[in-house]
Symmetry: C2
Subunit: 354 residues, 2 copies
DNA sequence: CTGAAAGCGCTTACAG
DNA sequence: CTGAAAGCGCTTACAG
């Protein structure tokens, strides 16, 4: 292994000077620089990051903590990860993926080893036990997502309010008046206090009401199967529905299948709009899903930058909320003509308003 | 930060003794052990992995090199990663995911930094340029997949021959005689020499011929869209097909959609069997895909173990090929009754044999 | 069974 | 602008 000592010797300088040049931490004359660079080139020198980490007390490694047990690692997550990794590399950091539990136990274990300078927290819960662990370890961190109590915590997140508002408006403007949200299942312990699910459902209830629409919300887990099952319940209980918003992208696939299986034409009969999805998943249905596209690449990058700013002692990045943007597919169209109802109940009354 | 020195001081021993205990590298009397453990507990000591790495010249970090540019990181890959990470942790190693290009350039860059003890190579090409890079850096590695020239390289892979054989036999025994393989697109530069695609196609041609079946193979890329398009071509050119095998799991989703869109009942009219998939993906279609289930968990674990054995200087793990196993779904059934053909060409003649 | 000491390959005050 | 030297927190021959 070629060390800094070898380079220094060959260049006829001290190892301190080599270090200064390499880190651009003190000025070096052009002549000296040339000699050192020449020596490095000739010897094929590569700085040892472990030694650097020990001496500088900074590993330049960032961990992305992902609760792989509780959340599936799918296409969306891959987007977050790859964009975060890219942002880290740009600033000469390594980003590594840590599949650790939601509860902070494994995280504490890992932090203790001193391997990472900071953590990007994924899939944040409203009251996330990992926060206390990170604070106790005095490890800088940034959240992709956010807790309820933010008090100055560095974070970026999806702007759920705008996303839901945009989604509902889109359907409303097409003429839809009988909407339903296939939401998350907050009874599931894994998702009990999962920010996106809580916030989307809240936003939807508010927005739908503000549009004077009936508020139909069905819980649903994060699988295609669950999406199918929820669709059956929906058709049974709210056959008047002309457009379905679906929170989870895998559930959205099941909603499309479920509707088609029930003899519905999508979107002729019923429109489907995925509230948070990515092109890869949206392309899996037939017809392709219309969706609000998760801003994964933006958030992965922003979250990492927010963390790195902390690590470098730079001005903190202000918290940012990025909305998912409408991405046209083929599952949303104008609503079917309303069919006469059997009984004229509450729903029928509302229907009359549209 | 609590260091080994602190622990040693409190326990009234030298730091060497603490180290011996911690690493179980030299015997320590019960009394000494008790004192040290007590001290560690009281101080909340955690060994610094960076210092350990520098002193021992082993970081205990393993990188899983994944060509994220060329291959999608989906459910299947997540399985490999999580099972490999688990296997590594069991032996007190860290496994980190490295999204690096196929060509070895980024890999060389990363290896030079001395951050990892070894590499698990994913998505291996038949003649993989990364091998030379790893050899040159003298970095131990194991392949999940395999090159054409194996000369002793540590590897585990899918047993494509058995997988394809089992798949074809299953369909054959149900009575299917008109099969087609929606294969990979070997003209795509990303997959040009991609082991699984090449090997599956070869195996299929051999097995189909050995069963006396017509060999129908259509190239297809790794997307749902491509699967739909390939299905149109298939129905156009080989309407007699009663069962379709699909290599790529995302393409398989498109094949099901494509068949249904063309008015085919799946599996009543046409059966679909995904050759390499995972339950999460298989559940995305309606009906759910019948598949040969990718042995991701096994291979992730075996590949990591093979590497760790090298690192520890233990007996090498012999290369292992693990077949994908049939996992029942609802897209495979007995074939439809053959319809009379317009013209009685070559295919008609074959058909008569069944 | 235990300890004193060298050393891993860097960074970083401190001095000049 | 450059260098000598201490130190990061461990591991590991070597000695006893």
């Amino acid at each position: 292994m070629v060390t800094m000592r070898d380079v220094a010797q060959r260049a006829g300088v001290s190892i301190a000077t080599v270090s200064f040049l390499l880190n651009d931490t003190k000025p070096v004359t052009a002549a000296t620089r040339a000699r050192i660079e020449q020596a490095m080139l000739e010897l094929g020198y590569r700085r040892n990051v472990v030694a650097r980490a020990l001496a500088s007390k900074r590993t330049r490694i960032i961990a992305m903590a992902y609760p792989a047990l509780e959340h599936r690692f799918g296409m969306s997550t891959a987007e977050f990860f790859t964009s975060a990794a890219e942002a880290a590399r740009k600033d000469d950091y390594h980003l590594v993926l840590w599949p650790v539990g939601n509860d902070g136990v494994e995280l504490r274990e890992l932090l203790g080893q001193g391997l990472v300078d900071g953590v990007v927290l994924m899939e944040v819960q409203l009251d996330d036990p990992r926060i206390a662990v990170l604070r106790q370890a005095a490890t800088p961190f940034a959240m992709i997502g956010r807790t309820t109590e933010l008090d100055g915590l560095s974070h970026v997140d999806i702007d759920f309010d705008t996303t839901v508002e945009d989604a509902v408006r889109h359907l409303y403007e097409l003429g839809h008046r009988e909407l339903a949200l296939i939401s998350g299942d907050l009874d599931d312990p894994r998702f009990h206090a999962y920010g996106p699910w809580v916030r989307v459902e809240e936003a939807y209830r508010r927005v739908a009401a503000s549009y004077g629409l009936p508020v139909v919300v069905l819980p649903c887990s994060d699988t295609t199967q669950a999406g199918k099952a929820a669709t059956e319940r929906l058709l049974d209980r709210h056959p008047e529905t002309t457009a379905v918003l679906v929170l989870n992208e895998y559930a959205a696939l099941g909603v499309v299948s479920g509707l088609k299986r029930a003899g519905h034409d999508v979107p002729g009969n019923t429109s489907v709009l995925a509230l948070l999805s990515v092109p890869e998943t949206a392309a899996m249905t037939d017809p392709e899903l219309t969706m609000m596209r998760t801003p994964g690449p933006e958030l992965g990058q922003l979250g990492t930058e927010a963390l790195i700013r902390q690590l470098e002692g730079a001005d903190p990045l202000p918290p940012q909320l990025v909305p998912a943007k409408l991405s046209p597919g083929a599952t949303v169209a104008t609503p079917r003509a309303p069919r006469p109802k059997a009984g004229a109940g509450r729903r029928g009354a509302r229907k009359a308003r549209s």
